[in-house]
């Protein structure tokens, strides 16, 4: 069974303090690994898809990387508006194209 575990569950940083969120996964043939951002009261907002080990993608202060067992979401010099829950999900080649999500990391950036 495909599984995703995210750590830490919650992270509190000061504005400008860089850090990383971890997503560990097991999947029978990875089609893609997805990162979403979710603000309170909203649906998940798509950030990145990574397809193969060694791949990296960047968007503003966020950079996502992928290995064969985990993905990291690096946040450089974060701002308060980066506060949100970050969700990681995997999509397998086998079967339907559903996403299997982790429980999320709740990130708070203090000014």
């Amino acid at each position: 069974e495909d599984q995703v575990t995210q750590s830490p569950e919650a992270l509190r940083l000061q504005e400008g303090e860089s850090s990383s969120l971890n997503c560990s996964y097991t999947v029978s043939g990875l089609r893609g690994l997805f990162w979403y951002r979710q603000d309170p009261g909203k649906g998940p907002e798509f950030l990145f898809t990574l397809y193969s080990a060694g791949e990296e993608k960047e968007k503003e202060r966020l950079k996502a990387t992928l290995t064969k067992k985990e993905s990291f979401l690096h946040i450089t010099a974060p701002k308060p508006e980066d506060s949100a829950t970050y969700l990681c999900a995997v999509q397998a080649f086998k079967g339907a194209q559903k996403l299997v999500f982790g429980q999320g990391t709740r990130l708070t950036i203090n000014p």
Partner: protein, 116 residues
């Protein structure tokens, strides 16, 4: 481009009552998903449609939940009778048909259900 539309946004019902949620996916998207997200957890797939047909409903509690997608566009998710543990956000999502690297899944804002 319009996103995934859902209604109602919020609903409070008593246990054993029924409720229905509606979803209109992004235009042209053949695949439609319903996910359940309990507070503090990641979303969990309930049912996936490809056009009119069900692709995966293995985690749908079929004794109380039902879903349909008429004409391969809009979809309705129904819960009858509701239980307290059904309190959650019901997220509808859609993606375009086809293999390869462009198959991003886009989510709506969700329908928040509280069962009292």
């Amino acid at each position: 481009e319009a996103g995934v539309a859902q209604s109602p946004r919020y609903k409070i019902i008593e246990k054993r009552q029924s409720v229905a949620f509606w979803c209109n996916p992004i235009s042209g998207h053949a695949t439609l998903y319903w996910y359940q997200q309990i507070l503090g957890q990641g979303p969990k797939l309930l049912i996936q449609f490809q056009n009119n047909g069900v692709v995966d409903d293995s985690q749908l509690p079929k004794d109380r939940f039902s879903a349909e997608r008429l004409k391969g566009v809009d979809s309705t998710l129904k819960i009858q009778p509701a239980k307290l543990e059904d309190s959650a956000v019901y997220l509808c999502a859609s993606s375009s048909l086809g293999p390869g690297t462009g198959n991003t899944i886009y989510f709506g804002e969700g329908s928040w259900l509280t069962v009292v």
